[in-house]
C-alpha cells in the first residue's frame, strides 16, 4: 500500500510598509521615478553616511505585531547582516536578529471549515535592497537604488500549516490585518507583499520533521498554491525513490510550473550578524504601546465578534458585512442613525449585493450615504411605504444617493392608511368581481389574492397589502 505523506509549511512574509520616506533617510518611497533619483548618501552607502530610524516604521511594525497577538520587545535593536551583493550598497543589510520588535504571536485562520491558530515566531524590521538592471546589449549590470532603504517587516511563522489552502488562508488573513491597519497595500504582484515558503514532507503521523526547502519568487496566491503542490510532489518522489531531500533555496518559475535550486545549505553564507553600532536601541514604553493600541482601528475579527454580540447578527451576515471595510462602515453608520441593525444588514446583504453584482462593482465603489439608507429603513419600518415601493426607492438611493423622504413625498409614494378610503375601494372591487367573491365564499381561499391585487392596483400600490387582505376578509364574512 502506498505510503501517506503530510506537508509541514512555514512562511516568511515580507511586507513593504506604506511610509512616505525610507527607513533610514528622508528619501521618498514612491514607486517608479528615474533610476537613482530617490537616493541620498545614506541609501547609496556613501562613506561616512549614517542611518537615522524613521519612527513611523516602528509604529507600523508595532501595530502589526499587536494585531498579530505578538509580544512587543520593549528594548529592541537593529543588527547588521553582512553579505556582498551590488544591490546592497553597504554590503550589509540593517535588519534585526537578536532583538526583533515582536515575538510569539498568532493569527487565527479558517480553512475547510476548521479554525486553526498559525503561530508567529517573530517579526522584524529591515531595509529593502536596490534593483539590478541587466543591460543585455552592453552585457553590463546597472544598479538602481530607488528601492534601497524602503522599509520592510518580515513576519516569520512557525511551521504550522499543512496545505496550500491553509497557506492562502494565512496570507489572506495577514493581508486583511495589515490593510485594515493601513500599514501596507500588500500587493503580491507589485511585490509589496512577498512570501517565501519553507516546506517539508514526512510520513503521515510521524513526529520528526523532514528536510525542508525554501521556495522564492512567488508572485500570486495561485503561484503559491501551484508551487506548494509541485514541491510536495517533488519531495515525495525523491523519498519514494529513496533519495534525500536537500536543504536548499529554490526559485519558482510560474511559467514552467517548476522550480530549480538556487543555493544549497553547504554554500549558505555566514552573515556575521552583530548589533548595528550606528543606531541606538529603541526603547518602547508601555505608554507608547497603549497609544498605538488606542489608535489601532478595530480589526475584522474583532468587528465580526462585536457585530454578533452587539447587534445579534448571524455569523454568516457578520462575515459578509466585515469582508470589506466600506460595507462595515456603512452598516455601522446607518445603524447608529436608525437603531435597526437587522434591517440595515438586510438592505446591505440582499439589495446592495445584488445591485453591486449587476453593476460589476466592488463594495469599495459604493456611493450612497448611510443617512439615506437609515431614512429608508425608518420609512419602511413605519409603514410609510410598503416593501415594493421601498425597493424601488433603494435603487434610486444606490444609483443617485437621493433623499428617500423627499423622493417619496415628491412622487406620492406614501402608503394610504386611511381606513375609509380603503373601505370604499374594497367595496368597489367586491362589487366589480362577483365571480371571485363567489369562488372565495365557495372555499377557494386563493381567490382572495386576486381581490387584494385588484384593490392594490386601484390604490396605485400605495396601500399596505396585509391591511387590504384583512379588510377584504372582514368584508366577505
Amino acid at each position: 500500500m502506498a505510503r501517506q505523506y503530510e506537508m509541514v509549511i512555514g512562511l516568511e512574509v515580507h511586507v513593504e510598509l506604506a511610509t512616505k520616506t525610507k527607513i533610514f533617510c528622508g528619501c521618498s518611497t514612491e514607486f517608479g521615478g528615474a533610476p537613482n533619483t530617490h537616493t541620498c548618501p545614506v541609501c547609496t552607502g556613501m562613506p561616512g553616511s549614517l542611518p537615522v530610524l524613521n519612527k513611523q516604521v516602528v509604529e507600523y511594525a508595532m501595530a502589526i505585531g499587536l494585531a498579530a497577538n505578538c509580544n512587543i520587545t520593549q528594548t529592541c535593536k537593529f543588527d547588521r547582516k553582512n553579505y556582498f551583493y551590488p544591490d546592497n550598497p553597504q554590503n550589509y543589510q540593517i535588519s534585526q536578529l537578536y532583538m526583533p520588535i515582536a515575538r510569539d504571536g498568532y493569527v487565527e485562520i479558517e480553512s475547510g471549515g476548521v479554525k486553526k491558530k498559525v503561530r508567529i515566531h517573530e517579526m522584524h524590521m529591515e531595509e529593502d535592497a536596490g534593483k539590478l538592471v541587466h543591460d543585455e546589449w552592453d552585457d553590463t549590470t546597472l544598479v538602481d537604488y530607488n528601492r534601497s532603504g524602503v522599509p520592510l517587516v518580515e513576519i516569520v511563522s512557525e511551521p504550522d500549516m499543512g496545505s496550500a489552502e491553509e497557506v492562502i488562508s494565512y496570507l489572506e488573513k495577514l493581508r486583511m490585518i495589515i490593510q485594515y491597519l493601513g500599514a501596507s497595500d500588500c500587493k503580491l504582484q507589485e511585490g509589496s507583499m512577498r512570501a517565501d515558503v519553507n516546506l517539508s514532507v514526512r510520513e503521515a503521523g510521524s513526529e520528526t520533521l523532514g528536510t525542508r526547502t525554501e521556495m522564492k519568487n512567488l508572485n500570486s496566491f495561485k503561484a503559491i498554491a501551484r508551487a506548494i503542490e509541485a514541491e510536495r510532489e517533488r519531495q515525495i518522489e525523491l523519498l519514494e525513490e529513496g533519495k534525500p531531500v536537500i536543504q536548499e533555496t529554490r526559485r519558482w518559475d510560474d511559467n514552467k510550473e517548476s522550480s530549480y535550486a538556487m543555493r544549497s545549505k553547504e554554500d549558505a553564507q555566514d552573515y556575521r550578524y552583530f548589533p548595528e553600532p550606528d543606531l541606538v536601541p529603541i526603547v518602547i514604553s508601555d505608554e507608547w504601546i497603549t497609544q498605538i493600541k488606542s489608535r489601532q482601528p478595530e480589526l475584522r475579527s474583532e468587528k465580526l465578534e462585536r457585530y454578533k454580540k452587539e447587534f445579534d447578527i448571524p455569523q454568516y451576515d457578520a462575515e459578509i458585512l466585515t469582508e470589506s471595510k466600506k460595507m462595515a462602515d456603512i452598516f455601522e453608520a446607518s445603524t447608529a442613525i436608525c437603531g435597526k441593525p437587522k434591517k440595515v444588514s438586510n438592505w446591505l446583504m440582499v439589495e446592495t449585493l445584488r445591485l453591486l453584482k449587476e453593476n460589476s462593482m466592488e463594495p469599495e465603489d459604493i456611493q450612497f450615504s448611510p443617512e439615506n439608507l437609515a431614512k429608508l429603513v425608518d420609512l419602511a419600518e413605519a409603514g410609510t411605504i410598503n416593501s415594493s415601493v421601498a425597493k424601488e426607492v433603494f435603487e434610486k438611493i444606490f444609483s443617485q444617493d437621493i433623499d428617500p423622504e423627499k423622493y417619496v413625498e415628491e412622487n406620492g409614494l406614501k402608503t394610504v392608511n386611511d381606513e375609509s378610503a380603503l373601505k370604499a375601494v374594497i367595496e368597489k372591487v367586491i362589487a366589480e368581481n362577483p365571480k371571485s367573491v363567489e369562488d372565495y365564499k365557495g372555499g377557494k381561499e386563493k381567490a382572495i389574492g386576486f381581490l387584494v391585487g385588484q384593490s392594490m392596483k386601484a390604490m396605485k400600490g400605495k396601500a399596505d397589502p396585509g391591511m387590504v387582505n384583512q379588510m377584504l376578509k372582514e368584508a366577505l364574512k
Binding site: P47, G48, N82, F84, P277, D278
Partner: protein, 491 residues
C-alpha cells in the same frame, strides 16, 4: 613676529583687529607646507587654489561683520577620513583613489560656519588603522621633532601639520588613541571628546561605536575653542548627544584647588619608559602645587582593554569596510572576470596589509561559532571596564597618566611586530571603550629630545574639567613645550 608662530586664537584676534589678513595667514601656512612637505608629508592633499578662494570669501564675511567667531579666517587641516564635498577624500587608502564625496561632514560644516579656511587633507594610517601613520598608501608622515621618528597615529598627519606649523590647528579622529597618542608624540594638544559630542556624520567609519572626531591644537585654549566650534547635536547621527554644555572655553581657568586627581598604579608599571614615568610624576607635582589632591589607585582590568578593543574595533571595521567593493566609487581592479573576481581583486589590491589583517580578524570574531567566545565576551569586558572607570570617578575628578608607554619610535620599527604595536595603545583604548573624554597635553621631552604627552581622562561630559586641569598645568609650566618643532632648520 612670524605670523606662523601665533596660536589659532591669537591669529583669529589679529584678523578681527585687521592686523593680519586671512590671505596673509593662508599664504604663510601654504608656503610653510611647501617648504617642509618633502620631509614631513603631513598632507595627502594640499588645496592651495581652494584655500586662496576660501580666504577671499571668509575675509569678505569677516569684513561685513557676518563672521565674528574667534576662529574666523584661521587656516585648518582636516584628517583625510572626513568627507568634504567635491574634495579628494582617501582615508590614505588606495581603494578610495579618486573618491570625491558628494557631501561634507557635519564637523567640517561646523568649522566652516565658524569661518575656518580648509587648506588640505592630512595623512593618516590607512582607514585609521595603525599607531604610526606608516600604513598610509601615500607614504609615512614623519615626526617634525625628529624626522627619523614616526609622528604616531593614526592622526599622524594632523598632529605633524600642527607641530610643523603647516596649519594653525587640525581635526583628527580617535578610535583607540588616534588623536591622543600622535599629539603626545608631536608635542601638541589633542582631545578626544565624550562619545556623541561631535557628530560622526561624514566621518568614514573605522569602529563606529568608538570613533570620535576631536581637535589637535597648539595649546589648551585653542583646543577648547575648536571643540566649542565642532561639537553639536546632529539629528543625522543617531549616536549624537544633546549636551547641556557647549561652552568649553569657559573652563579656561587657572585653578585646580581641591580637584581630586587619581593616577592608576597600573599605568605607571612595567613597560613604561622611565623618562615618561618621571614626567608624569612631575606633572602631578605641578598640579599638586596648584592645589590639586593627587593620589595613586588601582584602576584594574587594564590588561583586558587591548584585547577587547581589537576584537570590537576589528569586528565593526570588517563590516564598515565592506562597502569598498569597486562597484560604486574609488578603486576598481582593471582586469576581472565576473562579479566575485572583481570583488576579490579590487579588495586584495586596494587594501593594505594592516587593514586586511583587521578585516580578517573582525570577520573571524563575528563568524558563527566564534561570536560568543570573542565578540560577546569583548562587549562584556567593555561593560566591566566602564564600571571600573565609574568607580574611579566616584573618588576622582580626573585620572592622570601617560598617553603612550614610549615616545615616538623610529620609522620602520613598528609594523614588523603588530602585537607590540597594539600594546602601545594600552593607556588610550580603555577611554574609547568607556566612551570617556581624554586629552593629551605636552609634558616635556625625553632624553632623546622627543615630546612626552600626559593624558587626562575625565568622566563622561567632563571635558571642562580636563580643559581646566590642562590649562592650569599649561599656565604653571609657562608653555615650555610650545610648537614649532625645528624642522627644515638644520635637521
Amino acid at each position: 613676529m612670524d605670523i606662523l608662530s601665533f596660536t589659532a586664537l591669537e591669529l583669529g584676534k589679529m584678523i578681527k583687529e585687521k592686523r593680519a589678513s586671512v590671505l596673509d595667514a593662508v599664504k604663510a601656512v601654504i608656503e610653510r607646507a611647501k617648504a617642509v612637505e618633502q620631509e614631513i608629508n603631513s598632507y595627502v592633499t594640499l588645496d592651495e587654489e581652494g584655500a586662496l578662494k576660501q580666504a577671499e570669501e571668509v575675509q569678505r564675511l569677516i569684513d561685513s561683520g557676518t563672521l565674528t567667531g574667534p576662529l574666523a579666517g584661521v587656516p585648518v587641516a582636516v584628517k583625510d577620513n572626513l568627507c568634504i564635498e567635491g574634495q579628494l577624500t582617501t582615508c590614505s587608502s588606495k581603494i578610495l583613489s579618486g573618491f570625491k564625496p558628494i557631501y561634507t561632514a557635519e564637523a567640517v560644516l561646523n568649522l566652516k560656519k565658524a569661518g575656518a579656511v580648509i587648506i588640505g587633507k592630512t595623512n593618516m594610517d590607512e582607514f585609521a588603522m595603525g599607531s604610526t601613520t606608516e600604513t598610509s598608501y601615500y607614504g609615512p608622515t614623519k615626526n617634525p621633532h625628529n624626522t627619523a621618528h614616526v609622528p604616531g597615529g593614526s592622526s599622524g598627519g594632523s598632529c605633524a601639520a600642527v607641530a610643523a606649523q603647516e596649519c594653525y590647528y587640525s581635526l583628527g579622529s580617535d578610535t583607540g588613541g588616534s588623536i591622543r597618542q600622535p599629539s603626545a608624540f608631536c608635542g601638541v594638544v589633542g582631545l578626544k571628546p565624550t562619545y556623541g559630542t561631535v557628530s560622526r556624520y561624514g566621518l568614514i567609519a573605522y569602529g563606529s561605536s568608538l570613533d570620535q572626531i576631536g581637535p589637535v591644537a597648539k595649546d589648551v585654549s585653542d583646543c577648547a575653542a575648536i571643540l566649542e566650534a565642532i561639537a553639536s547635536h546632529d539629528t543625522k547621527d543617531s549616536t549624537s548627544v544633546k549636551r547641556k554644555d557647549y561652552d568649553f572655553t569657559s573652563a579656561l581657568t587657572d585653578n585646580v584647588k581641591g580637584l581630586k586627581i587619581g593616577i592608576p598604579r597600573d599605568y605607571l608599571g612595567e613597560g613604561l619608559d622611565e623618562d615618561i614615568r618621571r614626567a608624569i610624576r612631575k606633572a602631578a607635582e605641578v598640579l599638586e602645587e596648584r592645589g590639586a589632591v593627587v593620589e595613586e589607585f588601582d584602576l584594574s582590568l587594564v590588561q583586558y582593554a587591548i584585547p577587547a578593543y581589537y576584537v570590537i574595533a576589528s569586528a565593526e571595521a570588517s563590516s564598515n569596510l565592506e562597502r569598498f567593493d569597486g562597484v560604486k566609487y574609488g578603486y576598481r581592479t582593471p582586469d576581472y572576470e565576473g562579479l566575485h573576481n572583481m570583488y576579490k581583486k579590487t579588495r586584495s589590491e586596494g587594501f593594505g596589509a594592516e587593514v586586511k589583517r583587521r578585516i580578517m580578524l573582525g570577520s573571524f570574531v563575528l563568524s558563527s561559532g566564534y561570536y560568543d567566545a570573542y565578540y560577546l565576551k569583548a562587549l562584556r569586558t567593555k561593560a566591566l571596564i566602564k564600571q571600573a572607570f565609574d568607580r574611579a570617578f566616584e573618588k576622582y575628578d580626573v585620572i592622570l597618566g601617560p598617553a603612550a608607554p614610549s615616545t615616538a619610535p623610529e620609522l620602520g620599527k613598528s609594523l614588523t611586530d603588530p602585537m607590540k604595536m597594539y600594546l602601545g595603545d594600552i593607556y588610550t583604548v580603555a577611554v574609547n571603550l568607556a566612551g570617556l573624554p581624554g586629552m593629551s597635553v605636552p609634558a616635556g621631552k625625553d632624553s632623546k629630545g622627543l615630546p612626552i604627552g600626559m593624558q587626562l581622562i575625565g568622566n563622561s561630559f567632563q571635558e571642562k574639567t580636563l580643559i581646566r586641569t590642562a590649562y592650569t598645568y599649561e599656565c604653571a609650566t609657562n608653555k615650555q613645550y610650545v610648537v614649532p618643532a625645528n624642522i627644515g632648520e638644520g635637521v
